[in-house]
Symmetry: C2
Subunit: 420 residues, 2 copies
């Protein structure tokens, strides 16, 4: 089964929007075990679309077209598909009813042009999922209906509409056509505290073992302040078996690099820290200098963060550090300063635990310290731990890496506290 | 002059990275007045690359290939180009020297495989810009050297290397080939406080006038908390003339929507507010609740923000609002609370001006107020202005729109103060 993606939209060619749909679909196809050999983007132009669809169909068994299904005169994917298939267009009465229902549900009058979206090539049928007003299409090619030798799918360019149709209808149909009955699924372990090459070294023997047994695969993905991700991908005939494989491989990976794994899949460093705080009934504060509020901002991105996060003192100015956080006179990028910040912010804001950071984000040196010099501290049960680091990064990454690193230090202390 | 882009890399098809290069190049080509009719992505596969390059060259006058120029065995763009052009490869002695110089400059030993990057198709020449170790290539097609009827360019997939080569060599060469001697340039006015459709209405007559005279064009681009952008694009035979056109059109647009324009091109709301503060010798603080530190974080993204920003009190918890910021007992999402926050944070942190926000980010209601209900205040010269709004957004956008809106309110007061 060979597949191609054709994205339609002059705005893609002009760079007004980036085609994230094709990469998202490409990842989904790869995970499903279906080869995708080419991505193409063309403008809203009848002849150039016709050529692109025809060529893709010549090369491949299945083509996924995104975009050009809207209600305006520019949206001509339906007409071009009919042309490529050599069939007429008909207006589908059921689709008319569905489109009218969407508008009725929103209490808005329906422009007449929206009925164009109910026109479809003869022999095609709509995709069951229809989260917007644009129906997606399944167009068998070469006769035989669902068992046709080839197929073109058309989905809207709006990402959330496209994604529902792809996961709900297109991927299952492609797997059926390809005779793939197995399930492929991934689990991502998020890590912090080891470089990508270090992690690859740690896991080299395990990856070699997996290669030999043809078992799950392991891939690394550096994701900045979201952590360094280790993705385990497994394949099995059933949901239960693939979940077993993933669980078993997760256990093996954790046996090797467990202490640096902070979360799984969508868990962030912030959500994990907040969960540990809630679990232990602790309230947290932050004292921030070079990060300017980013630690608190990230924590409060998490819905429900008010269960554990009380607030921050952002002491960007040296005088604020001294007056509000009791930092002693003298340098503010040093152990004494960060220790005072971490200890005193708990009292100022009425918190049980805290993190504190002070350092030089750059571009200029400060107090004779080079950009990237950062002191980080955690305070748990009144005891402060402080460490110094020197990031070899630019201003943005110095701040971001400081945020995740100090939160990770707190995570490790909260784990130790729980298990003590 | 018709152009196409072919991006090489299996990781693009697998969705491991999004192809932002093609959209960036597409925008640059459009601005230069060169038609780009197709984007294609193919994997690192000799035969599929050969077919994609050949087809693109058949359809177009110029093809820009990105990726596949690295030192590893996977990087085969050079070899495939030689194959498509029907010529041999030769190792270029000058390029060997340049690559060795890059490694020497970094004090690192050079792997022998890097010399593969000095191999190039006979008849092609390198692009002058070489910010990394991968040389870019200009490959004339069909004889005639620089005046060949067609051309293929090859640049690395690394964005910053690609961009330097495109702007420095490829765009000028394409414009020369296309006989385009005019300069096309854009200026972006960033606005806040009017919807996209409202702005389009305000500027409808001016856009009609420009259409009639064939003058500069105007386009809108909604960019979240970066503002709603109005991009003016002008074309003229010389730098001086295009700059005159842009200045003249900027003045016309400002005459219509001036008060909502907060910045030009790369200026952000934060950088503009900080500049106004520095200019007036004022020190600023923030008192944040639902934004959790995001206002301070954004302000301190700007290098040099310490000249005006002193810090924040992030009072996420109600008790912190009362104890540290003197918020009266009772509800914390109300005018009295936000007014106390704005006024008192100046005293707590030793600032001259402040912004304060309190509200419901959701997902749950609070104090009987629906998510999206937000009070925002500014304090300038001891006088507090407070406004209430109700955002119809999700948690993330409620927080982001609150940040830019309260900073814009401060901007307008600082402008009024300066001009008083």
């Amino acid at each position: 089964m060979r597949c191609e993606i054709v994205a339609v939209g002059t705005e893609l060619l002009l760079g007004q929007i980036v085609d994230t749909n094709s990469s998202w679909i490409g990842e989904r196809l790869a995970l499903a075990g279906i080869d995708c050999l080419r991505h193409t983007a063309v403008g809203d132009n009848r002849e150039r679309m016709r050529v692109a669809f025809t060529e893709a169909l010549d090369r491949s068994d299945a083509v996924i077209v995104t975009g050009g299904l809207g209600p305006t005169q520019d949206d001509i994917t339906r007409e071009v598909l009919a042309d490529v298939l050599g069939v007429e267009m008909i207006r589908d009465a059921d689709v008319v009813v569905r489109i009218e229902a969407v508008f009725g549900g929103r209490g808005r009058p329906m422009p007449a042009s929206n009925l164009r979206q109910a026109d479809m090539p003869v022999g095609s049928h709509t995709i069951a999922e229809m989260p917007g007003t644009a129906p997606g299409l399944v167009c068998p090619v070469g006769g035989g209906g669902d068992d046709s030798p080839k197929v073109i799918y058309a989905v809207p360019g709006v990402p959330w509409e496209m994604k529902q149709m792809l996961d709900g209808t297109i991927l299952p149909d492609l797997k059926r056509r390809a005779g793939i009955s197995s399930i492929i699924r991934s689990r991502t372990l998020r890590t912090w505290g080891r470089s990508e090459s270090g992690l690859a070294e740690d896991l080299a023997a395990e990856i070699e073992r997996l290669d030999a047994v043809g078992g799950p695969t392991i891939a690394f993905l550096a994701s900045g302040m979201e952590g360094l991700k280790v993705r385990i991908t497994a394949k099995a005939p059933s949901d239960a078996e693939v979940d077993d494989l993933l669980a078993e491989e997760e256990a093996r990976v954790r046996a090797i690099v467990g202490p640096i794994v902070f979360g799984v899949d969508d868990q962030t460093m912030e959500s994990v820290v907040l969960d540990l705080l809630v679990e232990q009934g602790l309230r947290m504060a932050t004292a921030e200098s070079l990060t300017g509020g980013m630690i608190g901002s990230r924590l409060t991105d998490v819905p429900g963060s008010s269960r554990a996060f009380v607030g921050s003192v952002v002491a960007y100015d040296g005088d604020v550090k001294r007056s509000l956080l009791g930092v002693p006179d003298g340098p503010v990028v040093c152990e004494a300063a960060v220790t005072a910040m971490a200890a005193n912010v708990c009292g100022v804001l009425g918190a049980d635990v805290s993190v504190a950071v002070t350092g030089v984000a750059g571009p200029d040196p400060q107090e004779g310290e080079e950009p990237g010099t950062v002191w980080m501290a955690t305070c748990v049960d009144g005891v402060v731990d402080a460490v110094r680091t020197r990031w070899p990064f630019d201003r943005t990454r110095i701040r971001q890496f400081t945020v995740i690193t100090v939160l990770n230090a707190l995570r490790l202390r909260l784990l130790a506290r729980r298990d003590a």
